[in-house]
Structures are given as structure tokens and as C-alpha cells.
């Protein structure tokens, strides 16, 4: 292994090593699930209860209400706001080694995240760029030294002379007093030991954080039952916790839908898409102004409660101002389901112009059939592949499965296409889709989604007289309009 090889391997290990593994539903557990249910619910519900109890009683260091010159003033608005409200703590804890001083200057901590601002200076007190520090360890522990597992993932953002170290979700613990361990072993090319231990007092931030019940339930026309459980208001963010599950009727419909897709393997139970859905929310104030979405920024994975798509989910957004009234709006449900779009054409016609079919408000246009390089990793590379380029204009459809599951059969080394398009010639011969491409182009003047798709098959060696294309599955968006006023904490006078 060359030096470069070692560095590549180390880089990937460093990136991947920082990831917390999310929870997964193991299909095998489904059979045993009913037996395990009470225990499973116990493990999931208990921490929630603990964190709720904690939040309703909680309190940070008392002396920063008037702290104005915060290092958070140059960062995200949510953090600026929290700092202005006095939730940041001036720390100024430093360590010096080999002529370099590493200092944590300020910390902002609440139940959503901990953000620490650090700087590095040389002996002449000149700032050294924060990315010159090789961070060797970051973790949050309780006062007994037990690591809070949730905080093992961290990120660093650099702004001029300061590094902003962010650790997410410290809410796993009951303790209000925590310790941030921050260690580096190299600054620029100088090896050394810079280890800092900074106490974090969450008392004030937790006192200012409130979990308020919402307890509203809505069942979409598609049969997805949504329970809005609660909203957490914290100094740096707000978050709605909700639970989703399908009604019994919807479950049956999903099973029926799974049987409609032709691509399934005969010997296997149909793949029921209980988990294949997404809800789209936004929060707006009484003037209709939207609140900044923070779901991604807060890194909130869903947690499966059990089978049949039953899960706990969270929607995160910027902290809400007490000067306004807010409403959570459920905009749409996106769901993958059988979707048959069918078109027949003669490839020779395409030499003159594209073939366009308008039907039931749907438009599909075949642009070309060519022989091109393979688009799919798994396709054989030694020959050109028949490539059909088509464009479609469809309302409510945001994705059409091209060749969704590309499974290689070990025995024959053949690609098995499931849940994708079917290409058929005039004699009924079926050409498997072995690769493809999907692109959302935007909206047309009728507000329909303009979609561009490439379908490829290495089984078609020459152009047939006639071709029929049939789709099988698509992601369909259902507009919803469920509005729920969000409870706001009462201001302490």
C-alpha cells in the first residue's frame, strides 16, 4: 500500500467513523414483533418521558442575560437569537503547549445542541486558523465521566479566527451539568497535547425549554394516521414530535397495491411499501410568513416503532417568537404506489419527429431511441445499450421508478429488474430495463411536473418495429391542508 492509499483509507475511516448508526427495522423481527412489543415500547417511551420531565423542570448559568458581544453574533440567526437572549456562556478556558494556546471562549447549550467556540493563538497572541488544529477527541460526559452517546457526532464550522464546534442532541441525559471534553494533538505541523474540559450548565436553557402537548390527530384520505404529540421550544430551535401509522384499511390497501406490481419475484412475499412515504410540513405565522426549516440542520432521523411503517418522526424549525401566533401546516403526503403510464410507438417515426400522447391530463413524449454507453454500474460495458429518451408532463408525480431495484442473480449474473418500466416489442418480447436516468425539469404552464427519463436495455440489439413502454411504480404527492395552531410557552413574568 502506498502512502496515498493509506491516506485515502484513513480519510474514509475518519468520515464514516463519526456517524451514529440510525435505527432500522430488521424484517426478521416482524414475526417476533408482537411478543417484543411491550419491551420495545418501554425502551422507546421511557427516554422520551425522562427528557420531557427533565425539560419541564430544567435551568444554565445565571449571569449572561446582558451578554451582547457574543461570538455567536456572526453565526446562524437561531444561535444569534439564543445568544442575545442570554443563553451563551462565556468560558475562556485555555491550555498552552508547544507555544500554542487553545481556548474555548464561549458555549451555547440547550436540549437541541451544544455549540462551543474555540480559537488558537501563538506565543505572540496572533490567531492561528482554527483548521490547523487536529481534533483528536470530542465528547460530552456527565460529571462521573459517562459519555453521552448522542453527542459523539460533531461538526466544526470555521468563521474567520474561530471554530464553531457543534454537538447535537444532548437531551439523552437527565443531568443538567455536563462536561465537554475537547482534545487536539496537533496544531499545524507541531505535535502536542491540548486537552480542555469545560463544564456545561444546562439549567437555564432547560428551564427555558418547554415541551408542550399538542395531542391532535388527523387521518389523511390515504389512511395515514398522524398524531402530533408535542412541541419542544428551546432557545435555538423548535421541534414537533409526531407519530405515524397506517389504518387497518390502509394496510390492506398497501398489501393489494404490492400485489399489483408485476416485477415481484414469484417465490417471495410481495414487498409492501409501508415505509415508503414522507410528510411535508411548514410552519407559518398569522401573516402567512414561513418559519425557517431546520429539520436537516438538526439531523433528526425517524425512529421505527415497529412494523407496518409505524414510526416516530420529528419536524424541526427555527425558534418561534412570542410576538406571533404560529400554525403547523401539513402540505402533502408523498407515497410510492403502483402507477401505470403506457405508450406505444414506432421507433422509425422518431427520425422525423417525437411521438406525443395526451391522455387524461397526462402527456408523454418519446424523444429518441439511440444506442449509447450504459448508464448503470451493473450493466455490461462491452456493448452499446438501447436508450429511450422520453419526457412526461404529469400532475402530482414527483418520481417514476426507472429500474428501482437492480438485483444481480448470482447464478446467471443477470440483472433482475423489479418495480421499474417494462419495454415490450410488437411480438410481446420483453426487454428488461438495465439502467436509466431520471430528472425533474420543473413545471410546465399547466403546473404539471416536467420529467425527463432515460430507459436503457442491453437486451435490445436492434430497433423493433413497434415498442410499448409501461411504468409500474411512482412517487405520488397528495395535497393536504391540515392546520394546527402551535402552543406557545407562557412567558415568565
Amino acid at each position: 500500500m502506498t502512502n496515498l492509499d493509506k491516506q485515502i483509507a484513513q480519510t474514509l475511516k475518519n468520515v464514516a467513523g463519526e456517524l451514529d448508526q440510525p435505527s432500522f427495522v430488521i424484517p426478521d423481527q416482524v414475526v417476533a414483533y408482537k411478543r417484543k412489543r411491550s419491551r420495545l415500547l418501554g425502551t422507546l417511551v421511557l427516554p422520551v418521558l425522562i427528557s420531557c420531565a427533565l425539560l419541564l423542570t430544567i435551568s444554565v448559568s445565571p449571569t449572561f442575560a446582558a451578554y451582547v458581544k457574543s461570538l455567536f453574533n456572526g453565526s446562524d440567526k437561531e444561535l444569534q437569537y439564543a445568544a442575545q437572549e442570554g443563553f451563551s456562556q462565556k468560558v475562556n478556558v485555555s491550555v498552552t503547549d508547544r507555544g500554542y494556546t487553545l481556548e474555548i471562549e464561549e458555549i451555547l447549550a440547550d436540549p437541541m445542541r451544544i455549540v462551543a467556540v474555540y480559537s488558537i493563538k501563538d506565543q505572540q497572541k496572533n490567531f492561528i486558523h482554527p483548521d490547523k488544529l487536529h481534533i483528536s477527541n470530542v465528547e460530552v460526559t456527565d460529571l462521573k465521566g459517562n459519555v453521552i452517546k448522542e453527542t459523539k457526532t460533531y461538526m466544526v464550522e470555521i468563521q474567520e479566527n474561530y471554530g464553531y464546534l457543534t454537538l447535537k442532541k444532548p437531551g439523552e441525559t437527565e443531568d443538567q451539568n455536563l462536561l465537554l471534553q475537547f482534545e487536539g494533538n496537533q496544531i499545524d505541523s507541531v505535535k502536542g497535547n491540548w486537552a480542555l474540559q469545560i463544564p456545561i450548565d444546562l439549567e437555564k436553557a432547560i428551564k427555558a425549554s418547554k415541551v408542550l402537548p399538542i395531542d391532535k390527530t388527523y387521518t389523511t384520505p390515504q389512511g395515514l394516521q398522524i398524531n402530533l404529540n408535542s412541541i419542544m421550544h428551546s432557545p435555538t430551535a423548535a421541534r414537533v414530535d409526531y407519530e405515524t401509522k397506517w389504518t387497518e384499511e390502509a394496510k390492506k390497501r398497501l398489501v393489494e397495491e404490492s400485489k399489483q406490481v408485476k416485477g415481484k419475484l414469484d417465490s417471495v412475499d410481495p414487498y409492501v411499501r409501508y415505509d415508503d412515504y414522507k410528510l411535508n410540513f411548514h410552519v407559518e405565522n398569522e401573516k402567512g410568513e414561513k418559519v425557517k426549516d431546520l429539520t436537516r440542520a438538526l439531523d433528526i432521523p425517524r425512529k421505527a416503532v415497529g412494523e407496518y411503517g409505524h414510526s416516530n418522526r420529528k419536524y424541526g424549525f427555527a425558534p418561534l417568537s412570542p410576538d406571533h401566533q404560529y400554525t403547523l401546516v401539513l402540505d402533502s403526503l408523498e407515497k410510492t404506489e403502483p402507477y401505470e403510464l403506457r405508450v406505444s410507438f414506432e421507433p422509425k417515426q422518431l427520425a422525423e419527429k417525437s411521438v406525443r400522447v395526451d391522455e387524461d391530463g397526462k402527456t408523454i413524449e418519446i424523444m429518441s431511441v439511440t444506442f449509447d454507453e450504459p448508464l448503470n454500474e451493473a450493466s455490461p460495458k462491452n456493448e452499446k445499450h438501447a436508450t429511450i429518451l422520453l419526457e412526461a408532463y404529469l400532475k402530482d408525480i414527483s418520481y417514476i421508478n426507472v429500474a428501482d431495484t437492480i438485483l444481480m442473480d448470482d447464478d446467471t449474473d443477470k440483472i433482475i429488474n423489479r418495480f421499474g418500466w417494462t419495454i415490450e416489442d410488437e411480438k410481446g418480447k420483453i426487454f428488461n430495463v438495465t439502467g436509466g436516468d431520471f430528472k425533474m425539469m420543473g413545471k410546465d404552464e399547466q403546473g404539471r411536473n416536467h420529467i425527463r427519463i432515460k430507459l436503457q436495455s442491453d437486451e435490445m440489439k436492434e430497433l423493433p418495429q413497434k415498442l410499448s413502454l409501461t411504468s409500474e411504480l411512482a412517487k405520488k404527492s397528495y395535497d393536504l391542508d391540515w392546520k394546527v395552531p402551535l402552543p406557545m410557552p407562557k412567558e415568565d413574568k
Binding site: I8, L12, P380, L407
Partner: protein, 189 residues
Amino acid sequence: MKENHHFPIPKEGGQVDFETLVQPHLTSAFRVAFLIVHDYHLAQDAVQEALWEAYQSLYRYDERKGTSFRAWFIKIVTHRALNMVRRKKKTEEYLDSIDPGQNPLESILQKEKEQQIWRAIQMMTLKHRSVVILYYYEEFSIAEIAKILGVFEGTVKSRLHKARKLIAEKIQVNKETQVFTEMGVNMHD
């Protein structure tokens, strides 16, 4: 849901349940998916879908054929993750959308060279990136990678060669940029 009737046939005989088989590989599977798609939630979805697919296709897996369960499962995860990227956006567009300056994970990589390497891997095409991840992170052999991706061994070798070259070039470009910057000269392409 019916019980699963298609467990693989283990060497010693008897049935092995799916969870026992898959659990040891979940962390690694999630990380491979993440390295391919660069998105926590999409990687989670890719692995969850792969779990269902592996479960439903388990009867196809027979370790007596010489493929490890790990390689078989990672193959499904890899294809699921590749599907995710394709589904998300067209590859070129997806690559364009990656802003190295905005990637939080990059800041974890404190060594400048590691940051350059990670950037180079992010900017590669999917076919090169997946080979790099399977070879350097999962430490699969060339033959195993060929089987996972469904390409010839020679193709894997040439992709690895190209990927190394891309990474080396990236490091070199950054070195040159630094030198010029230090000299106070602005570089223009």
C-alpha cells in the same frame, strides 16, 4: 406477513435467522451508503430498503458458492445507495450541488490533505467513488468489487487507477494554489 422460508444454508447445517446474519454488518452498511450518497437520511433509507430486499431475496444467497454474506449484503446496499443518488438527481447535477465549503463532515477532517482527499472523492463520478469506498473503506478485493458492481475485474482496476489519479491531482492542485497564494499571485483558470 408470512414467516420467512428462504434462509440461507449455513455450512454446519440448521437455519440462521436473518437478524443474526445481518446485524454485524449494519454499521458498515450504513457507512458505505453514507459515503456514496453523502446524506444521513438517504443512507438510512438505502439501508432500510436493502434490508427488505435482502430479506426477500435471502433464498438466493448460498454461502457454499463462495460469496460471504457481508459481500452479498453490501452489494445490495451499494446498489440501493447508487439508486438513491440517481433518484435524488441526475449525477452531474448532484455533483454540482455539493458545495465542499458547506459540508460539515469535511470539517471533521482536520488534516488538510484528508480534506483534499475527501473533496476529491465527493467530486468523483459515482462509478469511481463506489469503487474507492468498497476498496479502501470496506477493503473488498478487486474480484469481490467486480462481483458487487457487476463489472469486469479489469474495469475495477482501471477505475481505481483513475480515482487515485484524480485524488493525487487534487492534492497537487491544492499544493500549487497554496504556493501561488503565498506568493501573492491570483490564479485564474
